[in-house]
């Protein structure tokens, strides 16, 4: 019965099962390689749809293929192809503008589906853990600031942790400004310039990746854990 339903789906799109599998494979390949190439930055939906629309004209086929790829990434690789929605709709106006703008603002990231301890033990990359730590700290600060914080205020908090805006040679994080910029590119934060009476002010807000349900919940959970943890002091002297 499942096969019959599947065949019905395929007949709507006028593609064979082999073609569907091949397209899904191309999407999976693209997602895996692009994730590595982009260092984890979200992949825009239009990049994935192009893989399908290059040779096929059916409008709904990209959606089917992406769903197929999502299932295969989960079953084969243990990756969740998570769809992220930008909070700000696109400025492009046209026919079906709202729908199109929603579609244009979608992006995808892959997240491991392993449990926390297994992930921590076998998957977490120790060499990039410092970036994860910095990302968490910055996102947490913005979150605790109400989801939006001025650039000046953010640097104020970072300075307390010996991270200066002008520091280009931090022993672990290198150029701090660039590291912060990478957090923006990863779509954890969104940088926004607001013009005010005293000139332009830059604000950092939480972006779709930090606002994503599971991630946001875990951030809050761990912030509480850290702050409420009992600390045992070790004398340095």
């Amino acid at each position: 019965m499942a096969n019959a339903a599947e065949d019905l789906d395929l007949s709507q799109y006028d593609v064979s099962k082999e073609e569907k599998d091949k397209l899904a494979a191309e999407v999976i390949r693209y997602v895996l390689f692009k994730t590595h190439q982009n260092a984890g930055c979200p992949i825009k939906r239009e990049e994935l749809t192009q893989l399908v629309t290059k040779n096929y004209r059916h409008r709904s086929l990209p959606g089917l293929i992406i769903n197929e790829a999502t299932q295969k990434l989960s079953s084969i690789f243990g990756y969740e192809l998570r769809e992220l929605q930008r909070s700000r709709p696109s400025a492009i106006q046209g026919r079906n503008s709202s729908q199109q703008s929603v579609a244009d603002s979608r992006s995808y990231v892959i997240m491991s589906q392993l449990s926390a301890d297994v992930y921590r033990r076998y998957v977490e990359d120790v060499d990039t853990a410092h970036i994860t730590g910095f990302t968490f700290a910055v996102v947490s600060i913005v979150h605790l600031a109400g989801g939006k914080i001025s650039e000046e205020n953010l640097w104020h908090h970072l300075k307390r942790m010996e991270l200066a805006e002008t520091d280009e040679n931090h022993p672990v994080l290198g150029n701090i400004k660039q590291t912060l910029e990478a957090v923006v590119l990863q779509r954890y934060l969104h940088k926004n310039k607001v013009s005010g009476p005293e000139g332009n002010t830059t604000f950092y807000e939480l972006a779709e990746r930090a606002l994503d349900g599971p991630v946001s919940e875990k951030i809050k959970e761990y912030i509480s854990e850290i702050v409420n943890k009992e600390v045992t002091y070790v004398d340095d002297e």
């Binding site: 970036i131 994860t132 109400g146």
Partner: protein, 403 residues
């Protein structure tokens, strides 16, 4: 919008008789008011954390300050400053309320916790600077890895993802030009023709001598006392005359070879076979030439010597040096030139005298009816009694002096 609500000061602009000191005093007051508003905004910005703190009284102090300043506001500029101060403090409160969604944890508290929990351990040597708050970011990352669950993706070694197959460029071939033109290399000096001409000249000269003298001794006819080469050339010319049937060589009772002219055989005689060729080898080397010089009286040579270029004819004969490969006698002025077999002097076609072009005589005794005259006289077929193959080979290699 602010302007509409401002009440005009009565008589502020209409009366020109208002005292200047009073006006300036009012401006000063306004300036002071604006500066006080600026101070309040600075405090709100700096102490935002404390303002939102429930335990702190900062909010009340600042708010009361703003309220008091508000009573002094008269002009639009101060109204703007008043509105901005109110906006700042409201934003601070909103941020605080939002933060209260995180169990009331402020960013400062969070940073403090990070510093406490993940402070970088100082080295035993105490190299860490005093008072620095260095965070061990790696430990933070490992602690929160499950929050983001990053996936590394796959590294591909097959190049950029958007590499497209490059279309092979159409090969542009040069237009193949067919070699329709015939190539005619430049002609070098046709030494053959010259040689042929020289030989013809020699033959003509020799035939004239034969016509004049009727019967001559062979040695007198061919010898050139001063040049072995020219002697050979003379012999060469004689061989052609004999081949053509225009000269005959006979041996008298004394054993001397006598050469006399004669008419060439008719064409039908050649065709019918009455006149035919027969070959023999006339061996003649340097020693033979030496002997010939002894046998021929000086001055009896019939063929004139042939000169070319700046070669002199003053070379004197020398007694045969043993084993020397010199064709002519040496002289102080004669340039010595090494010649190989492949390089010939332009005027001495000695190298042409190969085995295949040797002296050809009609053998009357050997072939019946072969002689055009049929007189049955014995043919002159002799090898040089003094043959020396090694010396001959060395000589023929062409190491000789040119006159």
């Amino acid at each position: 919008m602010a302007r509409r609500t401002v009440k005009r000061e009565v008589g502020s602009t209409s009366c020109s008789g208002r005292t200047e000191p009073a006006e300036s005093h009012a401006q000063t007051d306004r300036r002071v008011l604006r500066s006080r508003y600026l101070a309040v905004k600075t405090i709100i910005n700096v102490e935002r954390e404390e303002i939102t703190n429930a335990d702190s009284d900062k909010f009340n102090l600042i708010f009361n300050e703003v309220e008091s300043l508000h009573q002094l506001v008269q002009k639009p500029r101060e109204q703007v400053a008043d509105a901005e101060a109110l906006l700042d403090i409201t934003n601070t409160l909103i941020t605080s309320v939002k933060a209260h969604g995180s169990d009331g944890i402020t960013p400062s508290e969070f940073v403090t916790s990070i510093l406490k929990n993940f402070r970088q351990q100082s080295e035993p040597g105490g190299s860490m600077e005093h008072g620095r708050n260095l965070v061990c970011w790696k430990d933070v990352g490992l602690a929160v890895s499950h929050v983001f669950r990053r996936s590394p993706g796959c590294c591909t070694m097959i190049g950029p993802m958007n590499t497209e197959l490059k279309l092979r460029k159409t090969a542009v071939r040069r237009k193949h030009v067919r070699p329709t033109e015939s190539v005619r290399p430049e002609e070098i000096d046709d030494s053959n023709r010259e040689e042929g001409k020289d030989t013809d000249k020699n033959m003509a000269a020799m035939f004239n001598i034969l016509k004049k003298n009727k019967k001559v001794v062979l040695e007198n006819l061919v010898l050139n006392r001063n040049s072995f080469a020219q002697t050979v050339e003379n012999l060469f010319a004689l061989s052609f005359l004999v081949k053509d049937g225009r000269a005959e060589i006979k041996v008298n009772e004394n054993g001397c070879h006598l050469v006399s002219p004669r008419n060439a055989p008719a064409a039908n005689a050649v065709v019918s076979g009455q006149a035919s060729f027969s070959h023999f080898v006339f061996r003649f080397d340097f020693k033979d030439w030496k002997l010939m010089m002894q046998s021929v009286v000086d001055g009896e040579e019939l063929m004139p010597p042939r000169y070319q270029g700046n070669m002199t004819s003053n070379s004197q004969p020398s007694d045969a040096p043993s084993g020397e490969s010199q064709a002519t006698a040496s002289g102080p002025t004669t340039p010595i030139r090494k010649l190989s077999r492949n390089r010939s002097r332009p005027t001495t076609p000695i190298r042409k005298l190969s085995r295949n072009r040797g002296l050809v005589l009609q053998e009357q005794s050997v072939v019946e009816g072969s002689s055009p005259e049929g007189d049955g006289e014995p043919s002159v077929v002799e090898d040089s009694p003094l043959c020396d193959s090694d010396r001959a080979a060395a000589i023929r290699k062409g190491k000789r002096k040119m006159r």
